[in-house]
């Protein structure tokens, strides 16, 4: 004989309970509380960090304020040093371009041959500096070319060509501060002047002088 069991559910839907040991109606508020607590903890941590950072910042600010005057003096000294360095640098450029020719000129008097009379000795003028190039809005601080060259012109009278050649040969060594080996005979002709009953010869030699280089 078959036996049958009858399952009778007399509970209303609102009275039903889950068979799970974890009940949602309990877990949801707990989760929400945990979330709130977690957020509050996080806030607390952030706030603590913020306070620590602010304290540290105010400590540093105080330290900076205390050292400010001393530091400003150092900065001033450093700026002054930078300015002086710039001055020194520019004056070093000037110094590099200083020409010293007194000694070779003194020596020159010793090498002039007997039969040569120097009538003129001169350095050629320097070309004008162009500090306001065409189209430029403002003048330049200075020239961009840092080398200057000039010529030494020696003009005189002689009786024949050999003393002039001898003078040029003498100038070819020991006069490096005054002249380079680059030279040009600008003129060599008969002059109206006379000596010992014969017409003299005039000559003009142009030497390129050593460069004045304004550089370190």
């Amino acid at each position: 004989m078959n036996s049958s069991s009858l399952h009778l559910n007399l509970l209303k839907p609102t009275e039903r309970r889950s068979s799970s040991p974890i009940r949602l109606r309990v877990m949801l508020p707990i989760c929400a509380i945990l979330v709130c607590a977690g957020l509050l903890c996080w806030w607390g941590m952030l706030f603590t960090n913020l306070m620590m950072a602010k304290t540290q910042a105010s400590g540093i600010e105080e330290d900076l304020a205390n050292k400010g005057k001393q530091h400003a003096e150092i900065i001033k000294l450093r700026d002054e040093a930078r300015e002086l360095k710039l001055q020194l640098e520019q004056l070093d450029y000037y110094k590099a371009g200083v020409r010293s020719v007194a000694e070779p000129l003194a020596k020159f008097a010793e090498i002039v041959p007997m039969r040569v009379q120097i009538k003129e000795m001169s350095f050629s003028p320097l070309p004008a500096q162009i500090l306001q190039p065409p189209g430029a809005k403002a003048p330049l601080f200075g020239p961009t070319e840092n080398v200057e060259t000039q010529k030494l012109v020696i003009a005189g009278l002689t009786t024949k060509e050999t003393p002039v050649v001898s003078l040029m040969e003498s100038l070819s060594s020991g006069f490096e501060k005054l002249v380079t080996s680059e030279r040009k005979i600008k003129s060599f002709r008969q002059d109206n002047a006379e000596a010992e009953g014969r017409k003299l010869l005039s000559f003009e030699v142009e030497y390129t002088m050593p460069e004045r280089r304004f550089a370190k």
Binding site: L28, A32, C36, G142
Partner: protein
């Protein structure tokens, strides 16, 4: 969730649901009005702290180097002293008159005569590019005199010895009737303060 489900919920479940909703709302409020502003503030404070720390470390480094800076300054001043003494400073606005006061003893010592001092063209000091500022110029004084070649050389030798930073820019020796009275022209160049074009 529709109203039917909520109506069918047990009163305890309903209570639980409402409490959960309220708690989540509180969590949102905490996040929006406490956490976020605090985080932003902390971020700002950290940034400013980092800047302050950088500034402090730079300042400390500068203060540690104070001795070196002072030493550098002393060395630079000593090096510049030589130049500053050699600088041509105008006398009552006149460079030529300053040159006269400096050169007269040398001219006298060399025995040159009929001496005249005049300003010549000042030139800018060539400097490498880019030029930050022109601090000095090349002041030029034209000295004309009469005398022998030996006297001229004697003057130049004295000049180079006394004023090592003076440069002979131009020279002109033209013979006259007497070798003792040649026409002499010297254009002498000094360093002087100030740029030529822009200050």
């Amino acid at each position: 969730m529709n109203g039917g489900v909520f109506d069918n919920m047990a009163p305890t479940a309903k209570r639980s649901f409402i409490v959960t909703i309220v708690l989540f709302a509180i969590a949102v409020v905490i996040y929006l009005f406490c956490l976020q502003p605090c985080e932003a503030d902390l971020e700002r404070t950290r940034r400013s702290l980092s800047e302050l720390q950088d500034k402090q470390s730079r300042m400390n480094a500068d203060l540690r180097n104070a001795g070196t800076v002072k030493k550098d300054l002393e060395d630079l001043n000593a090096a510049l002293k030589v130049y500053q003494d050699a600088m041509l400073v105008p006398l009552l606005e006149s460079y030529a008159m300053r040159a006269k006061t400096l050169l007269d003893p040398l001219i006298l010592g060399a025995g040159l005569q009929d001496v005249q001092y005049n300003n010549d063209t000042f030139r800018a000091l060539p400097l490498p590019n880019p030029i930050p500022r022109q601090l000095h110029t090349r002041a030029a004084i034209k000295v004309t005199a009469t005398g022998s070649y030996q006297q001229a050389i004697s003057f130049l030798l004295r000049l180079e010895k006394e004023f090592p930073l003076v440069s002979l820019r131009q020279l002109g020796i033209v013979s006259q009737s007497s070798p003792e009275h040649q026409a002499l022209t010297f254009v002498l160049e000094w360093p002087a303060k100030g740029g030529l074009t822009r200050k």
